[in-house]
């Protein structure tokens, strides 16, 4: 039982946990028996506690600056890389601190600081972990987590770091479309599959060849900045125009976002709907909406064509098409995908659940269940390094099967030079400025005359698509020391520190939660006590009655403070003082039952 590995879909809009039971993947249920399907929203309360999921989403309109949604769009990014649209329409404040790492600024409360997307994603993972543990009655320590296939090294690292901060060992990061193909159990039949994954924030297309249980990705393409969020925006922008609101405040945006999402979903089954918000009733037809959505859908089709080209197969050769992500419920999307591939896509597995279910299958494979399945995935974007004049020399080409590696020899230009810097980038363009900067590696070597050192550097991409760099100075045999400065990521030390901090915060959070729980309890017990006093108080000994009233008043006062222990004591004292009152009540109930009356009539 301790070997449990779960599959987690950490989505832009929703996050899920799944595991395999009796050979079949299923969504894990929480202690209440509900499937764990958590909106990826985190809200930071003034008292320091953190809400995740549905409760957090409900606060979006009242506390927009403290409620964070779509954090996945910011993973592994710098502030300059966040689009203007995002900056205008995300209600929370973005800042950049230290290196080029975007953070979310939360004002006030115990977390009055800028939080990295890794930390906020960790809050979501922690919620999933806690709820899964409560439901399963066992600890959840290890997980397979999915990411969009088109995520680059920085975004994958950020996801792994989020797991670490949440106290989860991320055994494996797999690509969402690949996971979906696993969930469909298509392994039994050899052939070519296209997985079209249009999620809340990202788009992926993967072309796979299945051969005797081996799921081999031939090519992948996508856009980590294109998703259902963009389609919601079409409607949000229309509503803003209708309202004549040029500089909308955060609350209005939150309300409109909700209304837009609702309207979008209604338009998948109806020809027309009305987008409703305070002071607004905007009729929208499916035709209008689809016309505005078409350019976005066309962009996804262009990506599909490029993936097919890279895979060296034609659209008509594809044997099966699988749809993933909530956006694929849109009739326009289904129609366009069907046109491109000339066949009806599979839609039998819930597009919201399919990725988590596939992650659970991979978790099952890793736990040594004997399932004969192997995933061979690819690196989505070429890896290169900076050369003279700001050009990029490609080291590993996109769509190469991973793990893979490239080796390169470096030397020094000056006598006694002890430092060689290597700038690693990811992307398809020729110039440094057009590629994503991943990291600067500093190779430290013993002093030698110029041109003498021969530093053998291996750039290794592991099975998760994450880069490792190893270096050796060949003449001295010395291992060259490497310092890694991730451009848009956290160093190992930073991750460890945040993890330790989060343990302390967890204590704060627990305290805050206890306070909230106690106050709720106080409210309940006071209401009950007053009710009982008004009903049967006259039958109580006047001294006892005075004591109950005094303790109730006292507790009301204590509950306004922050001393949880004092509130706990007050609750116990009131319970003690109210015992005679409770006895009279019980007596009444007992008598009523003997007389065959319903309890309600007695009260």
């Amino acid at each position: 039982m301790t070997d449990l590995i779960v599959g987690i879909d950490l989505g832009t809009t929703n996050s899920l946990v799944a595991r395999v039971v009796n050979g079949k993947p299923e969504i894990v249920r929480d202690a209440k028996g509900e499937r764990i399907f958590v909106p990826s929203v985190v809200s930071f309360l003034e008292d320091g506690s953190v809400l995740v999921g549905k409760a957090a989403r409900e606060r979006a309109a009242t506390a927009p600056r403290r409620t964070v949604h779509s954090i996945k769009r910011l993973m592994g990014k710098g502030l300059a890389e966040v689009s203007d649209d995002d900056r205008r329409l995300l209600p929370y404040e973005l800042v950049e601190e230290g290196r080029k790492l975007v953070k979310v600024k939360i004002q006030g409360g115990s977390r009055d600081r800028a939080l990295t997307p890794q930390e906020i994603s960790a809050d979501i993972l922690r919620e999933l972990k806690t709820r899964a543990e409560a439901g399963l009655g066992q600890e959840v320590k290890r997980a397979v987590v999915t990411v969009p296939a088109y995520f680059d090294d920085a975004q994958r690292q950020a996801t792994r770091d989020a797991g670490k901060i949440a106290g989860l060992e991320v055994l494996r990061i797999i690509n969402e479309p690949t996971a979906a193909s696993l969930a469909y159990g298509l392994g039994g039949q050899d052939g070519l599959i296209a997985v079209y994954d249009f999620g809340g924030g990202t788009f992926d297309i993967s072309i796979l060849r299945i051969q005797a249980g081996t799921f081999r990705v031939l090519a992948t393409n996508g856009d980590t900045y294109l998703g259902g969020d963009d389609l919601d925006r079409i409607l949000v922008e229309r509503a803003l125009r209708a309202l004549g609101a040029k500089n909308p405040d955060a609350s209005l945006l939150a309300v409109l976002r909700d209304a837009a999402e609702k309207a979008k979903i209604e338009l998948t089954t109806q020809e027309r709907t009305v987008l409703r918000a305070p002071g607004l009733e905007l009729p929208v037809t499916r035709a209008e909406y689809e016309q505005a959505a078409l350019p976005f859908v066309e962009r996804t089709l262009e990506r599909c064509r490029r993936a097919l080209e890279d895979a060296k197969v034609s659209a008509r050769e594809i044997d099966q098409v699988v749809l993933v992500g909530g956006v694929t419920r849109t009739p326009l999307v289904r129609k366009k995908v069907e046109e491109l591939f000339g066949r009806k896509p599979h839609t039998d597995v819930d597009p919201d659940e399919v990725v988590a279910l596939g992650a659970a299958v991979q978790a099952d494979v890793l736990s040594g269940s004997g399932r004969e399945v192997l995933l061979l995935d690819v690196i989505p974007l070429s890896l290169g390094m900076e050369t003279l004049g700001g050009a990029v020399a490609k080291l590993i080409m996109r769509n190469a099967t991973i793990p893979t590696q490239a080796t390169e020899d470096f030397t020094t230009a000056r006598d006694n030079q002890t430092l060689v810097e290597v700038h690693v980038l990811q992307g398809e363009r020729e110039l440094v400025k057009d590629c994503r900067s991943l990291a600067h590696f500093k190779l430290r070597i013993p002093p030698m005359p110029a041109q003498v050192p021969k530093i053998h550097v291996t750039f290794l991409i592991d099975q998760d698509g994450i880069l490792h760099v190893l270096a050796q100075e060949e003449r001295s045999g010395a291992e060259a020391r490497i310092e890694v400065v991730p451009v848009h990521g956290l160093t190992e030390e930073e991750v460890d520190r945040i993890y330790m901090d989060s343990l302390e915060h967890a204590l704060d959070d627990v305290k805050a939660h206890r306070l909230i729980d106690l106050r709720n309890e106080v409210e309940t017990i006071l209401r009950a006590t007053h009710k009982q006093l008004s009903e049967v108080g006259s039958e109580l000994d006047p001294v006892a009655r005075k004591a109950v009233e005094a303790k109730a008043d006292e507790l009301l006062g204590t509950a306004k403070g922050d001393d949880a222990d004092a509130i706990q004591r007050g609750l116990e004292e009131l319970n003690e003082a109210a015992k005679p009152l409770a006895e009279i009540m019980l007596d009444k109930v007992a008598k009523a039952m003997v007389q065959g009356k319903r309890i309600e009539d007695v009260r």
């Binding site: 005797a212 081996t214 991979q362 190469a400 099967t401 991973i402 793990p403 099975q463």
Partner: protein, 183 residues
């Protein structure tokens, strides 16, 4: 019970750097694609780091995973090198004891001047003249590959070097022409 496949003697081939030996293939330029694919999938199933969690061994898991990762990466690198005919030709030439492009930069007389002329034409950008140029270069590229295949069978490593040196220019030019003409 399950033997650790990452310890098999065959993977000495990784260290020796002979990609053909790694996949158990004959050293030849005209590769049997189906045989390479089969060997690649068979090896992947044995070597992939995902398969290590289930393997029973006295050695610690992290060490085995580390080795499996290194071997898988080297194998996939070798696969990519064999799959691409340019890389395959360079690799085979090296195994046959030939020189690298850096060591032997020869080209036939008049070749560089001719390439320079074509480049000037490319920069002028007259589509009507570029189309026939592209067609003739594509023909030339195909012919060179046919010759290379024969030269590899004959083992003429000096001539192979010369042909590969010219091929680099021709292939680059074709790519640029295609970009210009087809976008």
């Amino acid at each position: 019970m399950t033997r650790d496949p990452t310890r098999s003697a065959r993977f000495d081939a990784v260290k020796s750097g002979d990609h053909f030996a790694l996949f158990g293939l004959e050293r030849r330029f005209d590769l049997d694609d189906a045989a390479l694919e089969k060997a690649f999938l068979d090896l992947s199933r044995k070597l992939h780091p995902d398969k290590q969690l289930a393997v029973k061994s006295d050695e610690s898991l992290p060490r085995r995973q580390q080795r499996s990762l290194a071997l898988s990466a080297a194998m996939n690198q070798a696969y990519a090198a064999l799959k691409d005919r340019h890389k395959r030709a360079e690799h085979l030439l090296k195994l046959l004891g030939g020189q690298t492009a850096d060591q032997d930069k020869r080209t036939p007389p008049g070749f560089l001047a001719e390439m320079l002329e074509h480049r000037e034409l490319l920069e002028e950008g007259d589509t009507a003249r570029l189309e026939p140029l592209l067609a003739s270069l594509e023909k030339r590229e195909a012919d060179t590959w046919t010759r290379l295949s024969q030269l590899f069978r004959a083992g003429d490593i000096s001539q192979i070097r010369l042909e590969l040196n010219t091929l680099k220019y021709v292939t680059n030019l074709i790519e640029e022409l295609r970009k210009k003409l087809r976008g």
